[in-house]
Amino acid sequence: MYEPLKRILAEIVGCAPEEIPDDAQITMLEGWDSLHHLEFILALEAEFDIHIQAEEIRELVSLDLIDDYVRACAPAMSEPQGRADGI
């Protein structure tokens, strides 16, 4: 689950996407700091073409919360290509 999110996260932390568990609290990842968090948020924004309010930034701390958020903002972009095309 959450493959696109894990891929982005893995780049920032410098690990393999598979090493990130589905129930990860991202702020608890090793070496995580506020700059990583901001970098992650900016990467999400670029990837899904969304804008996240400053207040919400600090609340997006787990993969399921982030996934819900991204889907609510940009449903077509976060779903696999096949379904978006109605196939």
């Binding site: 780049e11 410098g14 506020s34 700059l35 901001l38 970098e39 900016l42 990467a43 924004e45 670029a46 990837e47 073409d49 309010q53 400053a54 930034i57």
Partner: protein, 601 residues
């Protein structure tokens, strides 16, 4: 040679994410040498710059092995303390990112008495003086480092509610004075490159490059788009500093210099004039003419009947470009890749110095496929967009113009006359004598350093070792006490070619080694290499050494000099080295060339 994307193109979020991703991968696996170590110091947080800068530098052919972003707001400490992280990094490139709001903090403080004009001006002068002093210290300690300086901002005036530009509350006088002061840093040393941020980002608008969330949450004054823009500007300036610009603009004619097809519409039927679309084509010609004045060679490459094209040049009253503005041309029905290859041979310039401008996507695709080394410009389909595109396209950028750049186009016209003389001479010796060549050999000076570095960067064919020295590296060599750098200037009965050769001699115990020996393709085949070798031999003996050692480092392009040292009776000494015992043989300069050595050693 250089994968250039249009400078400051609008970056979509996807493109931005892609650049960042490529940059992260590059930082993860830095390229093998030669790669630059880069240190970044700033007055605000730019911690997210590294991947974007790594990506831009690689795309502009200057990969980084390391990008160390220092703690922000500690510019003075990092520059002044010899124990700082900056000096531990020992960078090849130092990037200094300053913001107006940070440097003039008392002026921009949201509450307080404000600053009267005189006090603001005094504050600015103090800041500029400090900066100048700090940079002096840093560049003194880092003798090979190039320093890029940029001043960002301000986003808004200290007080926006007062509208008069002269009102002291707006602080405009101080802001302009500060920008002027930072621009002036470029004059305080040849290794300081000032990036005029505010000017370059005008088209994007500063608002697009800032993000209040990032300021409040992380003290970042630039958003990722702003950082990507900064990275692009830094990479482009460093490329220009290396003199890595393209040399030739190869242009199609129909649909590019004028609208329509002259072979069908006739001279009177093409679109070219003082109004409407005709003016857009005319302005495109004006931009080409401007490039020519900047030292870019224009060549025409067109599928056309030569007589139709000749008629346009001779008869159309609205033509800006004349036949003599083109250094060479191919107007025929051959395919364009073949024509470009012929043009490159005729001008004695590599195809990787060519930028190709054609309105046909098919021709562009063909050239791109057949000649991957040629840069193919994405000419906008709409002619009105083309003058602006040509004006700001990144291919021909340089930091400053040298006299050689200014005279280049004229020099190529003269070369044609020289060739006619060669054709009419009975022997090579007679041709050489009738050229009446004057060779001048001089120690590299402050005034000629930029040209010397440009030759290192741009000379491919007659270049024995192809070492791409920068201004900073040459300057360091000049001062090391064991290296002598000489330029060769040539003039003949047709004119002055200026500085067209460089030799770097490194002194050892009993021998002197030729670290670099190169000549511009414009003066090849005139036995000037004999002049240089004779001089280097003489110099070696004057310094008390017995052997002159040369090196040949083969590249894809310098095969013509593979046997240079053997031909001058050097003995192979292994590992690409050649050695000449000056007690056995001393090379002499050809009697037909008048040599003047004005080096005061």
């Amino acid at each position: 040679m250089r994968a250039v994307e249009p400078l400051l193109e609008p970056l979509t979020p996807k493109a931005l994410a892609e650049r960042r991703r490529r940059g992260l991968a590059l930082l993860e696996r830095p390229p093998a040498a030669p790669a630059a170590r880069v240190a970044v110091l700033s007055t605000f947080c730019v911690d997210l710059l590294a991947p974007l800068l790594a990506e831009a530098l690689t795309r502009w052919d200057r990969p980084a092995s390391e990008i160390a972003v220092g703690p922000f707001g500690q510019v003075a400490q990092q520059l002044l303390l010899s124990s700082s992280e900056l000096y531990a990094t020992d960078p090849d490139v130092l990037l200094l990112v300053l913001s107006v709001e940070d440097l003039l903090e008392p002026l921009f403080a949201p509450v307080g008495p404000g600053l009267p004009d005189a006090a603001a001006a005094a504050l600015v002068d103090r800041r500029v003086e400090e900066l100048c002093g700090w940079l002096g210290v840093a560049l003194g300690r880092l003798p090979r480092t190039t320093c890029c300086v940029t001043l960002v901002g301000p986003c808004a005036a200290p007080v926006e509610q007062v509208l008069s530009p002269l009102a002291p509350e707006r602080g405009l006088g101080a802001v302009l004075r500060l920008h002027e002061g930072v621009r002036g840093l470029a004059e305080s040393g040849s290794r300081i490159v000032v990036i005029d941020w505010e000017w370059h980002v005008r088209a994007q608008g500063t608002a697009a490059l800032h993000d209040p969330r990032l300021w409040y949450l992380a003290r970042m004054r630039l958003n990722p788009r702003g950082l990507a823009t900064l990275a692009e500007l830094v990479a482009c300036h460093l490329a220009a500093e290396r003199g890595a610009a393209y040399k030739v603009a190869a242009v199609d004619l129909d649909g590019v210099l004028w609208g329509g097809v002259v072979g069908e519409a006739g001279v009177g039927g093409i679109e070219l004039g003082e109004e409407g679309l005709g003016l857009a084509f005319q302005d495109f010609q004006r931009e080409l003419l401007r490039l020519r004045e900047l030292g870019v060679l224009l060549v025409a490459c067109s599928k056309n009947n030569p007589q139709d094209v000749a008629a346009v040049f001779a008869e159309h009253p609205a033509m800006v470009l004349r036949r003599e503005h083109f250094a060479a041309q191919r107007v025929n029905w051959q395919d364009k890749a073949t024509n470009l290859g012929e043009l490159a041979r005729e001008l004695n310039v590599g195809l990787d110095s060519f930028v190709f401008f054609d309105d046909s996507p098919v021709e562009r695709a063909w050239v791109r496929q057949a000649l991957p080394e040629v840069a193919v410009a994405e000419l906008p389909a709409d002619p009105v967009a083309r003058p602006g595109m040509l004006r700001s396209c990144p291919y021909f950028r340089r930091i400053v113009l040298t006299d050689v750049d200014r005279g280049r186009a004229g020099a190529y016209a003269v070369e044609h006359q020289r060739r006619d003389l060669a054709a009419s001479s009975a022997s090579f010796g007679q041709f050489l004598a009738s050229l009446d060549q004057q060779a001048r050999i001089e120690l590299v000076s402050d005034a000629t350093l930029a040209r010397a570095a440009q030759l290192c960067q741009r000379t491919n064919q007659f270049n024995l070792t192809t070492k791409r020295y920068s201004v900073a590296e040459l300057e360091a060599m000049r001062g090391d006490g064991r290296t002598e750098l000489y330029t060769l200037s040539v003039s003949d009965r047709f004119g002055d070619s200026g500085i067209t050769g460089l030799a770097i001699l490194r002194l050892g115990e009993d021998e002197a080694e030729i670290d670099t020996l190169l000549m511009s393709c414009r003066v090849l085949g005139r036995r000037l290499e004999d002049v240089l070798l004779a001089f280097l031999a003489e110099r070696t003996q004057a310094l008390g050494a017995r052997f002159l050692v040369g090196q040949f480092e083969p590249t894809a392009k310098n095969a013509q000099v593979a046997d240079l040292y053997l031909a001058h009776r050097f003995e192979p000494a292994g590992a690409g080295l050649f050695r000449l015992d000056l007690q056995q043989h001393r090379p002499t300069a050809p009697a037909e060339i008048h040599v003047r050595v004005v080096a005061s050693v």
